[in-house]
Amino acid sequence: MEWLYILMPIAGVKIFWPGLIILGIGVGVIGGFFGMGGAWMVTPGLNILGFPMAFAIGTDIAHMAGKSLISTMRHGKFGNVDYKLGFIMLFGTVAGFEVGAQMIMWLERIGKVDMVVRWIYLLLLAFITWMVFTDVARRKAKDRAAIAAGQEVDKNATGLEWHKALHKIKIPPMVHLNVAGIYCSAWLPIAVSFFTGWLAGILGIGGGLIRMPSLIYLVGCPTHVAVGTDLFEVAISGLYGAASYTYKGRTELVAAIIMLIGAAMGAQVGAVATKYIKGYGIRIAFGLAVIGCAISVFLKLLPVYVPSVATICDVIATYMILGLVSALALYITVKMVQGAKHELAMKKAKA
């Protein structure tokens, strides 16, 4: 079975290459569907396959750039990418990320970085979970009220409507974001992207996990447009991140390319699946993914207070993440296949 293993030229470790393709497919499907890079899922996966942590992060970012580019192209064809919004947000994302990274250096100097980062991460994930499920509950309540009153359910109704209050701020220049269907001050997406970029810089992540819900709840994008536009941001920031980590010598390109073979295919499946799943279906699945991520962060934080459970927490966190990746990827793939079958049957019936 020696042929199933490949020697990585830079990291110098032998890796089970089919494992890389499977991991790539899984995170490709999830990334294309939710609009995120999925570093929190890939890094522990690569670590299990035998990569040193430093190489796991760099390799993950490198494959993420290629995968997100494919997903952006696919979502672009579906009309899910607001390029104007994406370019406006780039300014805020880059500036915010740099400020966040500088703050991390300051925290490192005072020796508090790990604790602060993990607690911020955990609180943020708890807040996103609350936001997503409160939104879903309020939307359902609106639907029930409409049915009880004998009215038609408004398909464009939303639960949380914070974006409506933010759209009332009319600081020039005002911009029309046609794909997202928004007219607002340009400062709104810049401020939101600065904030999400700052958080991403502090937490050392790509930021899709924060930016996607922010585009929905703060900027007011429809779910599909939020997914597509976020992927556009991930593709550009991923390419920058890939350059940064590679220059520091922490990228194993051979592994990234093997992963990319699976991820490029998976990303297409994930992106096409958004054709068949309603906006609120995507939001609920996203909320579940965030819960999984929050539990894994909590399991990493627990050993700081109870050192005796360190090993068991680490094992549980890793397998829980991999289980979650498999379950979500399977769910999205099944939905995509069902939707495609239905579409083909409809086409046949019309012909």
Binding site: L7, P9, I10, G12, A62, H63, A65, G66, L69, I70, M73, R74, G76, K77, F78, G79, N80, V81, Y83, A101, K155, N156, A157, T158, P222, T223, H224, I236, L239, Y240, A242, A243, S244, Y245, T246, Y247, K248, R250, T251, L253, V254, I257, L260, I261, A263, A264, M265, A267, Q268, V269, V272, T274, K275, K278, G279, Y280, A340, E343, L344, K347
Partner: protein, 98 residues
């Protein structure tokens, strides 16, 4: 559709042109650790790749930044062709919910 294609192409070309600058910029905060790839067990393209890493991280970075999008696009287009062959409509989405 044509405008979006042009925007994406412009983004890609800009990325390629900026690749060396980004690589220089990215080098600022690096840890002062020298990592060397062990090329003794490698042959062919793998040995060439590891040697490139050892000789210049800058050229290695430029190659990586060019290869990643290129390979991604090749496999993405391949998946496109397969899905198009199956008969899935890849140009429109009927669902229009918030």
């Amino acid at each position: 559709m044509f405008t979006k294609g042009k925007a994406l192409l412009a983004m890609f070309v800009t990325g390629l042109l900026l690749a060396p600058t980004m690589a220089f910029a990215a080098g600022g905060g690096g840890a002062p650790i020298v990592m060397v790839a062990d090329t003794r067990k490698l042959t062919g393209i793998m040995a060439w790749w590891a040697n490139l890493y050892n000789e210049s991280h800058l050229y290695f970075t430029i190659m990586t930044v060019i290869l990643i999008p290129l390979i991604g696009v090749i496999f993405g287009v391949l998946a496109d062709i397969i899905m198009h062959f199956i008969g899935i409509d890849l140009k429109s989405r009927d669902l229009a919910e918030h």
